[in-house]
Amino acid sequence: MRPVRHGLCQVADKKGSGEVRVALVGCPNVGKTSLFNALTGSKQYVANWPGVTVEKKEGVFLHKGFRISVIDLPGTYALDYNSLDEKITRDYILSGEPDLIVLVGDSVNPEQSLYLLLEIVEMEKKVILALTAYDEAKKMGIKIDKYELQKHLGVPVVLVSSITGEGLEELKDLIVDYSARKGVLHKVHLDYGEAMEKRIREVLNNLTDLPIGAPPRYFAMKYLSGDTQFYQEALKSGLPELSEEERIAFKISLSKKKRELIENVIKEAYQSSEEKVLSLSEAIDHVLTHKFLSFPLFFAFMYLVFKFTFETAQVFSDLLDLAFTNLGNLLVERLGENAISSFMADGLISGVGSVLTFVPNIFFLFLAMGFLEESGYLPRAAFVMDRIMEKFKLSGRSFMSLLLGFGCNVSSVMSTRVIDDPKERLVTILISPFMSCSARLPVYLLILRIFFPHASAALLFSLYTLSILITLLSSSFINWLFYRGRSSPLIIELPRYRFPTFRNLYLYTWNRGKHFLKKAGTIILLASIAIWFLTYFPGNGNVEESFSASIGKALTWIFKPFDYSWKITLSLFYGAVAKEVIVSSITMLYNFDEVELETARSVLGLEMDPVKAFTFLVFVMAYIPCIATVATIYSETNSLKWTLFSVLYSFGIAYSLSLLVYKIGGLVVRS
């Protein structure tokens, strides 16, 4: 048994029989995460792989006195070191850290899974094949001969279903048994035919010292097929360079031989009813990617998601809001009006409260997103929308993320994790704050109602349109600035539709929502304490004499061209914490109530004309992402440089755009 390495595994087992580390490997969409959830239940820990922002999921379960920790590796089709996911997976398998690998395969279409299995067999690792979705295969009339598979592949095979739970116990037993057994490493030689075997032998003979971290035969084959990692290593250790044609040809021949073998194995082990009917998945696809229906239906889904997140959840948000307000009032009542009660009520409770009231929205949003993702609709949406997004150097995958931005930019940045191309993911992260989130809506509504009571709907619409335009054009611009290459290709698999299970949805929502609670919560809490402090002192509650006033006055030079007063400047400054804060700081600084529009008009009208007001809104729409978003951008990109770029870029765009609006508006109105 290997030594305990991670904190979460430190509880020793009662019987002292030890622990097993199991890695789950499989293609995307085969139900790997479902199996992971079914094995570990809710005992999961989500972290990032060191240095990168790919999720590392770990879970633990106990079986027969063994403590089995499971690592859910990213889904990959092959182990070629092409993408980040492939690198992580291959490095982890070759590191020897896992005692056992469970290859999660698809019962219905096992071809690609078996290909992956053969790759791992060639790495000479202990591996079990678990074919999931066995219930679906049975329903489709597919008969699988497990023993035939074992005979040909030389690894133990289990047929499981994460939904019905069939085969799960068998898999657990097998994990425990098999990991304890010694000398079962698979040194199965796939015979690639005389010509290729000769090349492999030649390389092996020329190897002066044994490669580190990979079995020699595997190393030789990877070298011959021009693998990104091992080819370079081989050159360093003195092996000759190969021509590109030779490498590609070898790679394709390897792949071909494996595919042939797999085809034969499937022929032996699989029996399916041959009648070709329009399967349920194809039927659904026929309608959802229909020539005329696909777009309206897509918007219908989006509408439902939004209605669900911002209307149904709103009731819960309002209830929370009410509770926090009452709590604050109660405190002030009990403690009297003094610095402490003000700190508790205006600083802590309203600060933390303003975050927590968003929690229902966020959780409902992730629930809806989880449903779309788990059911398999998301890739279809990407497929349908791709043509439009390609024009802006994006792909259908980023479309979903951007759309979420209308709700909250934090969730939109976080959802970019599903984009596997790192370049496209980065661009999507950088542009998504321009999507006008729901927090900006109160600001629009306040100002529009005051200054444009008769044209507010049209202007609101124009603001949203502007935000979409800036988002898309920014993508083109950022791509032009940094990449200038071709856009990333859209190669995604459209998985079979599945009805999401309750457990998967719950874990999906909780794992992501938890993140929001922790990260955004701490930051906004600190910020609101700071703002309270600055506004309360040294004037003891008098705004005009507070630090805030001095800050606001000190910053007015920034908005000199716009002629904003220090109060407006200050509201924008605080609005960087969260955009809703603009509304509360304006009402607080000008001392009017949100409902008394007449008073507001007379007070604000002294400083602003309609052109200035609209300019202000354009600025609010585009300027610096709120602190929660900035923090999320930092945690997702893991780069200070890009976070800074995002802040400066959006500020620059907002400034120049609103200046443009201000000048043009001024010309139009005055003439």
Partner: protein
């Protein structure tokens, strides 16, 4: 013939792939190699990405990438539209529904069992050149005749 020219429902065999390295690597990893048999399942509503099925799995691909994949039809019988990419002689096997369409081809003199010749992308019937729209050429199934 290139993969992006193939119409839905036709099975083709991959002959050659000429793509940028990373795209090629990814596709080879997913099982798209010369010799693989794929079927174009669907074309997106706006006409760009296509979906092809490979061993029962549906995979999307943009036309730009599909341009780099050289394929040939697997089945003997294929729509006339695809046959026009390859010079040769073809026999009409079947024609699909559509009253007006059937009348039109009748007028042109195309019947089941009739021989058609394709030369440099133009269709000839008994030496006469014939013009057919894409929709019409899709409704006629032909079989290659070895001359």
């Amino acid at each position: 013939m290139k993969l992006f020219q193939v119409t839905p429902g036709v099975r083709v065999k991959v002959l050659r792939m000429d793509l940028p390295g990373d795209v090629q690597n990814k596709l080879v990893g997913m099982g798209l190699i010369p010799g693989a048999i794929v079927e174009v399942v669907k074309i997106a509503p706006l006409g760009d990405p296509i979906v092809f099925s490979l061993n029962g799995r549906n995979i999307t691909l943009r036309k730009k990438e599909a341009e780099g994949i050289e394929v040939e039809p697997v089945d003997e019988v294929m729509p006339l539209y695809l046959a026009m990419f390859e010079d040769g002689e073809y026999e009409v096997v079947e024609m699909f529904e559509g009253k007006r369409f059937l009348e039109k081809v009748k007028k042109l003199g195309i019947f089941s069992g009739e021989r058609l010749t394709v030369k440099n992308g133009t269709l000839y019937l008994k030496g006469r050149p014939i013009l057919l729209g894409k929709g019409e050429a899709l409704k006629i199934l032909v079989r290659g005749v070895k001359g």
